[in-house]
Symmetry: none
Subunit: 202 residues, 4 copies
């Protein structure tokens, strides 16, 4: 019997390496050699564990997505299942409370990934998948408050605000008053969900 596979651990290291380098250099400028160095591995090993550079990126997208979902799940677990309104806020908090402020590298990478998704079909595919899933999750939570009516539109708006905060936080550090993102988005949610509903526009 050979030695136990450490493939999963190596892949983990490499993905972490990409996260770090991509946050400061972007995807195209993150060379495989640099990623390997950041991971403490040799360049050749990267292609032993990944078909190509893009596969690392795709894996990173899924990991970042999984991470945020864990945070969402954790927050939802602390909220009563019947309190539909609080569940929406929990979702928003999961994305913004720790996200924008606490893990700049992840945010920077995420924004970079969003831009890559525009141009690389395979990145777009997976990016679209996780975004749609998250958005649908939020839509569900919103729908529990409003009924299906307008749930999609409201969810999209709140989701957009979240993504926008990511962009601004990553691109112009210091622009957004620290800690203000969660509160503001929650207030946006309040305006969209709790106020007397304005008539649907055409």
């Amino acid at each position: 019997m050979g030695r136990p596979s450490n493939s999963e651990e190596r892949r983990q290291q490499i993905v972490a390496g990409l996260l770090r380098i991509m946050a400061e250099r972007g995807y195209e400028r993150a060379s495989v050699a640099e990623i390997a160095r950041a991971a403490g591995l040799s360049p050749g090993l990267v292609h032993y564990h990944f078909k190509d550079k893009q596969e690392i990126l795709l894996t990173l997208v899924e990991q970042l997505s999984a991470r945020v979902r864990e945070r969402v799940a954790a927050r939802l677990a602390r909220v009563k299942a019947e309190d539909a309104r609080a569940r929406v806020d929990a979702f928003l908090e999961a994305f913004l409370a720790t996200g924008a402020d606490a893990d700049p590298a992840a945010v920077a990478s995420w924004v970079t990934i969003s831009a890559e998704a525009i141009q690389q079909p395979e990145v777009r595919a997976i990016y679209e998948k996780v975004v749609r899933e998250d958005l649908e999750h939020l839509e569900e939570l919103v729908g529990a408050v409003t009924g299906k009516r307008r749930a999609r539109t409201v969810a999209a708006g709140l989701f957009a605000a979240i993504q926008g905060y990511f962009v601004l936080a990553a691109s112009v550090p210091g622009l957004v008053p620290p800690g203000s993102a969660v509160g503001t988005v929650k207030r946006m949610a309040a305006g969209l969900l709790d106020a007397a509903q304005p008539p649907e526009e055409a």
Copy 2:
């Protein structure tokens, strides 16, 4: 004697070339040769009119910014100076009504630029400048409704929502219900500005 300068015209063509190519390939993958071809010029000429590739990008940032400001100015011109509330909506419309839907290449480029701003200091500098100016403009308009209190925070939230819509529109076409962006952000503004103000959180 000599020949009349056509530098400005050439620079225009080249910047337009970058816009086009960058929208489909991203900045790093937009080769100078391709940009030149898109502009109908020879590769060498690009560097006759621009110091380097980055200078084209910086010029593009300024142009895109100038374009949206014209739209803002145009919309504001149609609104009574005293109607502070309507002026906020005019600003939002200027960014979203034509922006996200009508000019996909510009939106895609803008999102790409946002990501580049994270990594390239010189891009960040100009990106930050134009973003700050636009945000301050919005803050002013918001302040005319709310007083200075919370104007910054509210403006940042609305601006984030706009940027987020850009990202989603560019990265996942079809995700955002067409035409819904303006209405939703205006409703966010309504929620933040017109409703009974919730107490400021810590």
Copy 3:
């Protein structure tokens, strides 16, 4: 009848431009555009007055040579025709008294030209011509002291010392004690010419 030709003046400016740029950048790195700028002219004009870049260089070689010959002639004119020994010293002074110390750009250019002569046949041709002529001149002056015997060898040695001082002065400023070159070479000449002659080696 057209306007009077200013060709000669323009050529002069351009050659002076090359001298300046070449002293700080070397020949290959001295771009025609830069030369033109240093000359206060437009790039196109350079090729109107010179066939190509090399022709400027060849012209410069001749000019530098002409300049030093004027200095030689001037010094010789002040020395009695019969004083063969003094005439040798006058020659050495003409090369070193003002040369190494007073006109660093000319010295730097001359050293650069010596290196170019190794690789460019056409440069070598003219370089060789002027060097041979100068060397023969010195040989003649030396021969008037020693007789033909060993005149060539002695002249070559003194000439080498001069060239070597140029190299050292240009490449390592501060290495040669200022003002020491002339004196030392004259003392070398004294050693070779005035001392009891050692027997010729094989």
Copy 4:
């Protein structure tokens, strides 16, 4: 595991390639592709082993310097430690006996390097270092004959003569009577060291 490093061997090959090409084309015209071809390697590999083209040049400077020092050491080893006068001659022989005549490529490269030192600060730095060290060595040897008095000046003169012979030998083959360099410089040394000392000039 892995493969044994052969970097040092490859670097050797590449430096040798530069030496060969530079001797016939000069530094700027020695393209990396040509250097690689001369070394029997692929172009990309050159930059795997060297940061850039200049680093190859800097390495070459050190190697040429090391080579001549070995020759100096070898000659000095054959001379009695007390015979200060003979030690000076040994130094001169080490530079000229085999140098100017036996290895034209090395001499041509050295002259080219001297010219590059004028223009490239990093080349100058290392060139200056090795030249100063060699000159100081000679100064020491000379000082053992004359006492400190004038050692610097005399050493500089002899060193200049050596460099000058290199230039003339490389730029105008056939100009210097073959084999005459060593003898002449040694006679210069004799003149400067053995003759009744002329009074120091100001």
